[in-house]
């Protein structure tokens, strides 16, 4: 008879770029100066797009919108490690990921304006439709990864979800299945500390979300989610492991949702403004800008020039979105089954007659 420790586990956290813009040279990812500038540009594009979306929503020109403010590094850094051939399974707050992969900006506005055509994925990308039901897309990423391996395709899948998503049953079932079958999938938690009004500490009693990987027998790591270099490096390693047969990984990006849950929410009702201020000091763009300036890669003039360029680009995207002809009544029927049923055809005709639609 005995009682002894039969296993013990550790949880790692990766930080490369600190709040002052200093880096750990030994941990620096293998990125060129162009890459480093590009990462910053993508974060700035994400931020300005996000701000524009909030303005449009207030003007009644966009529907309910979930701001990604504060999470730019967690999204741009991870997506920058992806290849176009990889399959991406987003939740609904992944603007920075879409922007990084080159998704058409007008289409992103279009989706949040209530037009499903905004989900039409460009041919060169493999982005699953935005998933509103929290965490339920996790098994899909596992299944696609298993299918890719079955076909011998040298790709990985990446699945994004939040701290709230880790409480869902499909998180458990999906990660468990991924571990059993060693599927080439990378799970990327956007731990932004809040699921609407429920704080991270109310979401789980676990000290970290990264440690949940241990129970599924897969590698897990926590990264400073406001450190674009750490996020990139951790994702790159996980993707390489997945593509080379090393199985799935879990990455917890510890970041912060600086804005309300969506434009329909008021976070002042449930969270301390001091907490928001503390996180402001950890802004992901600020530290990257300091880092680039120290290396002579950035200055105020370039900043101003880029902001102007992005504004013009957003103007064009919004104009394009708002000039899109409305969808047809037929579109609500056309994609239900492969073929419209006789009853659907009758319903469409009734709709046309009743509403006197001429563009249906």
């Amino acid at each position: 008879m005995s009682k002894k420790i039969i296993a013990s586990f550790t949880v790692s956290r990766l930080e490369i770029l600190d709040e002052q813009g200093r880096t750990d040279a030994e941990l620096m990812p293998d990125l060129t100066d162009d890459d480093l500038v590009r990462l910053y540009e993508l974060m700035l594009l994400t931020r300005q797009f996000d701000q524009r979306a909030l303005h449009l929503q207030r003007e009644g020109r966009l529907g309910t919108y979930p701001s990604v403010l504060g999470q730019e590094a967690s999204q741009v850094g991870s997506a920058y490690a992806l290849q176009n051939s990889d399959w991406l399974f987003p939740a609904f707050r992944e603007l920075g990921v879409f922007v990084t992969l080159g998704y058409p900006l007008a289409e992103i506005y279009q989706y949040w304006n209530g037009d499903e055509r905004g989900l039409l994925c460009p041919e060169q990308l493999n982005i699953f439709p935005i998933c509103i039901a929290v965490g339920t897309h996790i098994p899909h990423a596992v299944g696609a990864a298993m299918a890719a391996r079955y076909r011998g395709d040298p790709i990985a899948t990446a699945c994004y979800f939040g701290d709230g998503g880790t409480s869902k049953g499909d998180f458990h079932e999906g990660l468990n299945m991924a571990g059993v079958f060693q599927a080439p999938v990378v799970f990327i938690i956007q731990n932004n500390q809040w699921a609407i009004s429920i704080s991270r500490n109310h979401q789980t009693a676990a000290e970290t979300l990264a440690q949940k990987a241990i129970a599924y027998g897969i590698p897990g790591i926590q990264v400073d989610g406001n450190d674009v270099l750490a996020v990139y490096q951790a994702t790159r390693e996980a993707l390489q492991r997945a593509r080379s047969g090393g199985g799935p990984s879990l990455i917890e990006c510890e970041t912060y949702r600086m804005a309300d849950h969506t434009t329909a929410d008021d976070a002042a009702r449930y969270r301390d403004p001091e907490e928001v201020q503390r996180w402001q000091r950890r802004d992901p763009l600020l530290r990257m800008r300091r880092f680039l300036a120290d290396r002579g890669l950035w200055d105020d003039a370039r900043q101003q020039q880029l902001e102007t360029e992005i504004d013009a680009r957003l103007d064009r995207a919004v104009a394009r979105e708002e000039a899109t002809p409305p969808a047809r009544a037929r579109d609500i029927f056309a994609y239900t089954w492969t073929e419209m049923t006789p009853r659907q055809k009758r319903q469409l005709q009734q709709l046309r007659d009743l509403r006197e639609l001429d563009h249906g």
Binding site: W87, E116, R117, L119, L120, C121, F128, P129, A133, T136, H137, I138, P139, H140, A141, V142, G143, A144, A145, M146, A147, A148, Y150, R151, T157, G169, D170, E173, G174, N176, M177, V180, F181, D331, A334, Y335, T336, W337, T338, T341, P342, R343
Partner: protein, 320 residues
């Protein structure tokens, strides 16, 4: 041509599809080494290997969720859930994803997924092993719901279900697994999803049934000039075949094992009331399970409709 029961016919359908198309994979609990709890997949693991006949953890939501991911990637997964009652934990995957993936992606992604599962009573099994909740799944556009009523049609419909680009819930009547035998040929069998068939022609009354109730309805119809329609696909269903028959016979009896209220019989009755009421010579009659939780074995016979009940309903409408 070999005479076989429904278990053997389904096994043959799976074997032929696995041979024909490398994109077809099976997954589920105990489908591999064990050959399935009802032995539906017996021998397939040995023949096609663990990459194509995949034993999964006990995880219904992930079985269907993973299959959705595979289907979107281009495979044709056939997932087995051991009993219809156990799909309840995976309904979010079926309703929130499988049914609407095509719509959400504006036709860019398809979900050629089949979820096979035994349904219905008559085998004296524990709770949640004898559910007949097919109507619930018919209320989600985007899903197809297919229910075979004989070995030949089980093979034909399963092959058609695997080949359609739409997601299919394929309900196998547990009671019929080994009850009926008929000749089932190798190779493709002609059948079309969404079409009903006249299982027995007649002129005086139309009896609509599916799955587990088809065999009882055919027995009940003997001795009457009754036409029995095997609906086969519940969603989208073949209203035209039913309406054409009722316009001729003037009478309708709908039979299902599921609870009466909100059952699929109500949809059929409403369809006939809307489009053929002037042909009716008698009130529509439904022969169904009661509005109860499916009882445990000692009481289940009170709930599952019998051939005698169906014959009684036929006689009743013929009296008008």
């Amino acid at each position: 041509m070999a005479e076989m029961n429904m278990v053997q016919a389904i096994n043959l359908a799976l074997r032929e599809e696995l041979e024909r198309d490398p994109d077809v994979v099976l997954l589920g609990e105990d489908v591999g080494r064990d050959g399935g709890v009802f032995r539906l997949t017996e021998g397939l693991y040995e023949a096609f290997g663990e990459e194509r006949v995949i034993d999964t953890p006990l995880s219904e939501s992930a079985i269907i969720g993973v299959a959705i991911g595979m289907a979107a990637y281009g495979l044709k997964p056939v997932a087995e859930i051991q009993f219809l009652g156990f799909t309840y934990g995976a309904i979010e995957q079926l309703f929130s994803h499988a049914a609407r993936l095509r719509s959400r992606s504006r036709g860019q992604l398809h979900c050629p997924l089949v979820v096979r599962t035994p349904y219905g009573g008559g085998v004296k099994a524990p709770e949640l092993h004898e559910e007949s909740s097919e109507a619930m799944f018919c209320h989600m556009p985007g899903l197809k719901v297919v229910v075979p009523g004989s070995p030949w049609y089980a093979k034909a419909l399963l092959q058609a279900s695997i080949r359609t680009p739409d997601p299919v819930l394929f309900l196998e009547p547990t009671r019929l697994y080994r009850l009926l035998r008929e000749d089932v040929p190798a190779g493709d069998l002609p059948v079309e999803l969404g079409k009903a068939r006249i299982a027995r022609p007649g002129d005086s009354v139309t009896v609509v049934a599916w799955g587990s109730m088809l065999e009882k309805s055919l027995r009940a119809a003997a001795g009457f000039d009754a036409e029995v329609i095997d609906l086969m696909t519940l969603n989208p269903f073949d209203a035209e075949t039913i309406l054409a028959s009722v316009r001729r016979t003037g009478r309708l009896v709908v039979v299902h094992e599921a609870a009466q209220t909100g059952g699929f019989g109500a949809e059929i009755a409403a369809t006939v009331a809307e489009d053929a009421i002037l042909s009716l010579k008698a009130p529509i009659r439904r022969v169904t399970g009661c509005d109860v939780i499916p009882p445990l074995p000692l009481l289940e016979d009170y709930n599952v409709p019998t051939a005698k009940q169906i014959a009684g309903a036929i006689a009743e409408v013929l009296a008008f």
